[in-house]
């Protein structure tokens, strides 16, 4: 297998020594089938053990390794080195404060996910003796796409609204809340209303569609947001009731 020398420009930020982030260049011999994550691990293992970055499954299901590669938010475990020419620039996700090097502070992101109450809410929980909640394949289809989110936050990094309005609840959170609103077992639509209805909720979205462009799991959060806007308006105007739709 051929080896190719590739130059990586990696953003560094060490709070104990850097006033502001700086770029550091590394040259790595990459194998043909390497992804950017492999190169970062090679840097950390063989060249510079001080480099900090998040990763886990290296197969696109955990959502840990999201970064900007040549300015675009990608999962570095899915970004093949051979698809890039010239110098490859690696930066931490945009729209998030940087903790260290390629690691960003995701606390705000997690808080936003929690704010939409992403769990089945029932008025009265069924007793175990009454058996399971039954759901047909058709009912599952209605929300399944929105349940595929791996919380990688690439959509937050891509969203132009978040650059200027950091309190926007964001694509992943809205898609997640919408997933539960569409779930036939859920009765908690009214409880999610507050998170959706505020000016930092669904209405802050301005149709950029970048979230859906970068989503590695084809969740299409932009679709969730547009549907959520219409449903929210119908409820706000009291045309539809604020409860579950089963």
């Amino acid at each position: 297998m051929e080896l190719r020398k590739v130059r990586f420009e990696v953003l560094r930020f060490r709070p104990e020594q850097d006033q502001a982030p700086v770029f550091q260049t590394y040259e790595v011999e990459c194998m043909e089938d390497w992804v950017v994550l492999d190169a970062l691990n090679a840097i950390k293992d063989d060249v510079d053990p001080t480099l900090s970055h998040r990763w886990s499954c290296r197969m696109g299901v955990c959502g840990s390794c999201g970064m900007l590669v040549n300015g675009r938010p990608v999962l570095t475990c899915a970004a093949f080195v051979r698809n890039y020419s010239g110098v490859i620039r690696v930066e931490p996700l945009s729209n998030f404060p940087i903790v260290r090097d390629l690691v960003v502070d995701l606390d705000g992101f997690v808080d936003k996910l929690k704010s939409v109450k992403p769990w089945i809410i029932r008025r009265i929980e069924k007793d175990l003796s009454e058996g399971e909640y039954r759901q047909s394949p058709a009912q599952l289809e209605e929300f399944k796409q929105f349940s595929m989110c791996i919380n990688c936050a690439l959509c937050y990094a891509a969203c132009p609204v978040l650059a200027n309005e950091p309190d926007f609840v964001g694509p992943a959170a809205i898609a997640l809340g919408h997933r539960y609103n569409l779930d036939s077992r859920d009765e908690g639509n009214a409880e999610r209303f507050a998170a959706f209805d505020s000016h930092d909720g669904v209405y802050a979205c301005s149709y950029a569609n970048e979230c859906s462009q970068v989503c590695p799991k084809h969740v299409d959060p932009a679709m969730a947001i547009q549907q959520a806007k219409l449903t929210d308006f119908l409820q706000w105007a009291k045309i539809l009731p604020k409860r579950s739709f089963t």
Binding site: A20, N95, Y207
Partner: protein
């Protein structure tokens, strides 16, 4: 909020804006262009209002307005406004189709696949435009 209540937070570097926003990346450029359509569409409305105002003032004013709009600069501006409006129609319809793709509350999922939903409105729009143009042109 933190994973561990005793964890110390180190100094973070401020969030950085998406790379290439607003004009450095083609999709962000398109997005800003889409937002800019609102300015040109508003100008178009102002043009229509000018015409209606002239119409309310009588035949001389109306003909004078028509002559004024035939000038090269006004024609160019009108074509620019029209261009932006058409770009708006395509982009708005394209995102608008996402509203129709799934269940909205109790209203069921539409039976047609997304590509059809995406094209059908455009076909519908063009039909309406032709009908309206025919009315304006005295054919209907």
């Amino acid at each position: 909020m933190s994973a561990h209540p005793a964890a110390e937070k180190t100094r973070t570097s401020p969030a950085r804006a998406p790379s290439g926003f607003p004009f450095g990346f083609s999709r962000y450029r398109n997005y800003v262009l889409f937002a800019a359509t609102s300015v040109f569409m508003a100008l178009g409305c102002i043009g229509l209002l000018e015409g209606l105002y002239a119409l309310s003032k009588g035949p001389e004013a109306w003909n004078a307005w028509l002559a004024h709009m035939a000038q090269p600069f006004d024609l160019a501006l009108s074509l620019l406004v029209l261009g932006f409006t058409l770009y708006f129609v395509v982009r708005f319809g394209w995102v608008g189709r996402k509203i129709g793709a799934g269940r909205i509350g109790p209203l069921p999922r539409p039976p047609l696949p997304l590509p059809v939903l995406g094209l059908a409105p455009l076909g519908g729009f063009v039909t309406l435009w032709l009908i309206l143009l025919a009315i304006l042109g005295g054919l209907l």
